[in-house]
């Protein structure tokens, strides 16, 4: 459950997005820009949080009344090992040092549903975090580091995010779409029986805007509450394609797992928020 520190939503004086060149970061810049919120986007080309003195340089760019959105992280495609985790933690250390020095009005930390592991099929914010890999462990550790910041802190845990401009190629709508365009074929693991929740990137940004305007704090999963099989996702991608697409199944190598998000807390926090349907989201993606 999250709490809103502002009873009446209002725009912040400025939003700073750390990790602004990434898939979600870019969507946030668009979202905040579209409603006239002053926004400063910073990426590793502006300040490399892995470098010496990065905290000092970042602090110099921040103001005490900023709302800061932290997305910068080395994602699993950059490595899944110990070294990557340590670098990510070092980045967060620099980031927290900057906030300790400069202060902020509100911090939104973008974590990941990887903190839950694959144990429970049904997930709420009350589900115990039990990461099963170093990536999830890293995010959980960074969540705890974020909570040390002296300001209202919101932790967002997005599930599988899709949309135009995805810089990754994880199994799901984005990879399926590229594969359909390039090869006219989508290859599923097994028969694609697993169910997952896919959230459109602009919906993530719209929800973040809501949370920023209410100065929300706590933990919130970012998911639609509707889970779909990968088979169905492939069919939706195929139906949206401009050429015939073959859906190919493969021998199953790992057991089927499912994931369902109970988004009741999200509905309570933002009762009138609406997610885009998966079919509409997939049909609307053009790159």
């Amino acid at each position: 459950m999250i709490v809103h520190h502002l009873p009446e939503p209002r725009n912040p004086s400025r939003v700073v997005v750390i990790g602004a060149r990434g898939f979600i970061g870019a969507a946030l810049l668009r979202q905040f820009g579209s409603v006239g919120v002053p926004v400063l986007g910073l990426s590793s080309t502006d300040i490399d949080l892995c470098s010496d003195g990065a905290g000092e340089r970042l602090a110099a760019r921040l103001k005490a009344d900023d709302t800061v959105l932290m997305l910068a992280a080395l994602t699993p495609d950059k490595g899944r090992g110990v070294a990557t985790m340590i670098r990510n933690l070092a980045m967060m250390e620099q980031f927290c040092a900057a906030l300790a020095k400069a202060g902020c009005a509100h911090l939104v930390y973008f974590s990941s549903d990887a903190v839950y592991g694959l144990g429970p099929a049904r997930v709420t914010e009350e589900t115990s975090a039990a990461p099963q890999d170093l990536y999830g462990t890293m995010h959980l550790a960074r969540e705890l580091m974020a909570r040390e910041v002296k300001a209202p802190v919101l932790v967002l845990r997005p599930t599988l995010v899709y949309g135009a401009g995805d810089t990754h190629n994880a199994y799901g709508p984005n990879r399926f779409r590229r594969s359909a365009v390039a090869d006219g074929r989508i290859t599923l693991f097994g028969g694609g029986e697993e169910t997952r929740d896919h959230v459109y990137v602009d919906d993530v940004a719209a929800l973040a805007l809501r949370a920023v305007r209410s100065r929300s704090a706590g933990v919130l999963n970012v998911a639609t509450g509707v889970s779909t099989t990968f088979r169905r996702v492939a069919e939706l991608v195929a139906s949206a394609a401009t050429r015939p697409v073959e859906i190919v199944t493969t021998p199953r190598a790992v057991p089927v797992t499912h994931r369902h998000y109970d988004i009741t807390n999200l509905l309570k926090a933002f009762a009138d928020f609406r997610f885009r349907g998966l079919g509409d989201g997939i049909a609307g993606v053009r790159e």
Partner: protein, 422 residues
């Protein structure tokens, strides 16, 4: 000669128990240290709503006396200490009131009077209050909101916590209990205190099972209402078992016992995993209406108007403690709502966009959807066609199946209830 019975603490439990004792022909002294409360009661203005209660107060006025003077308890042979024990949001009991009241009763009662703790207290409480030379007992109360008088007049059994269960009960106490014609089960204090909790845990287990499987029914095309009769004919489950799906556990008493078991388990190292699962399931099901509303209305209709019938936590009561209706309304502040409850005023919802309504159909007038959040009997008498005629969109959420699904659907209403796919 019949003994005189005293009841200390004139909130729900004490008042209903005292009035019911007078109906059994006993002279009853109703004591409360709050003179204002006694003043109201003396004018037959009752702070609680229960079937039969007002009538019995009038009928037995000659045997009932209300007093704020502890000295008046000196005429009593048996004194029940029966204040409602308040709980916090976590279900933890506030024992301050009963502790204070017990002190008053100990001071005021005759040395030979039997003092009986009737309130819901945690195991160990009564033994901790025992004093040399005093006759102290604990008695399990089985008050059910909306059926409190009936339960007090016709109990299934009396569970009695005793300092020494092998000793005979004092004559006045036995006379009063035997007037109710039910089995007496004396046992040690701690067993009786835990028996009360055990009863409630069995009820919660049944309700949680019903809720868990009803939700599954909603997803796989089964109908829980078809399954229930089969279960009730099973002797191991029984015809009176709690198998109606609901919107989680409410009212405060069951939550108190859940919290008590978890607290004891944590302190003593026993396993309470299943109890915590019941609590989680209860919280999950409480939000059925919110999720269904979102899926069917809020995610599809701009600026919808929502009619809500029922604010009390259950029918035939004024209580809104942990009311699913108020919980739902607390999450609907962005939307216009139209509210009606036969007893509870709309102001109890503290909703910024609420319109109080004088009747069920007035609440439906111009709404996009009707949600029946309390199963008041009078709601079941509503004409589905009349409801449909008032609603802008023909949507009806009726979690407790107060209305007949078939009749509603026959009039063109889209009908959603617990335990079956909408």
């Amino acid at each position: 000669m019949k003994p005189t019975i005293g009841f200390a603490g004139m909130t729900h439990l004490g008042l209903v128990s005292g009035v019911s004792a007078s109906e059994k022909g006993f002279r009853v002294v109703c004591f409360d240290p709050d003179p204002a409360r006694i003043g109201q009661l003396a004018q037959a203005r009752l702070p609680v709503s229960e079937p039969q209660l007002d009538d019995l107060v009038a009928k037995n006025a000659s045997r009932l006396s209300f007093t704020a003077l502890p000295a008046d308890l000196a005429s009593c042979d048996v004194i029940y200490v029966a204040p409602d024990v308040a709980t916090d949001d976590q279900g933890a009991s506030d024992l301050g009131t009963i502790n204070a009241l017990l002190e008053v009763v100990f001071d005021a009662a005759r040395a030979d009077a039997v003092i009986v703790v009737l309130s819901q207290v945690p195991p160990g409480f009564t033994r901790g209050k025992q004093r040399p030379g005093r006759l102290l007992y604990y008695q399990v109360e089985t008050l059910i909101f909306g059926r409190a008088v009936e339960r007090a007049l016709y109990p299934e059994r009396y569970i009695l916590g005793c300092a020494d269960p092998s000793q005979p009960l004092p004559a006045p106490f036995r006379t009063f209990l035997e007037a109710h014609g039910c089995p007496l089960l004396p046992m040690r204090y701690e067993s009786a205190e835990l028996a009360k909790i055990s009863i409630n845990m069995c009820l919660v287990a049944s309700v949680s099972t019903a809720n868990t499987l009803a939700e599954l029914c909603e997803k796989i095309g089964a109908d829980w209402s078809e399954i229930v009769p089969a279960l009730k004919l099973d002797r191991r489950i029984g015809q009176y078992s709690y198998l109606a799906p609901g919107l989680g556990i409410a009212g405060g008493n069951l939550e108190r016992d859940l919290a008590t078991v978890c607290s004891f388990a944590d302190r003593l190292g026993t396993d309470a995993g299943v109890v915590r699962a019941w609590i989680a399931n209860s919280r999950h099901r409480r939000d059925w209406a919110l999720r269904t509303l979102h899926r069917e209305v809020l995610s599809k209709i701009d600026d919808p108007v929502i009619a809500v019938l029922g604010l009390a936590y259950k029918q035939d009561t004024h209580s809104t403690k942990n009311s699913p209706s108020l919980a739902l309304l607390s999450h609907l502040h962005p939307f216009r709502v139209r509210l009606f409850d036969p007893v509870v005023p709309a102001s109890a919802a503290a909703h910024p966009r609420a319109t109080p309504c004088a009747s069920e159909l007035e609440a439906c007038d111009g709404a996009d959807v009707l949600v029946v959040m309390t199963p008041w009997g009078q709601f079941g008498k509503l004409d589905p066609a009349a409801i449909g005629g008032k609603l802008r969109r023909k949507l009806l959420l009726d979690p407790y199946a107060v209305l007949k699904a078939g009749a509603c659907r026959a009039t063109g209403l889209r009908y959603f209830t617990l335990g079956v796919e909408g």
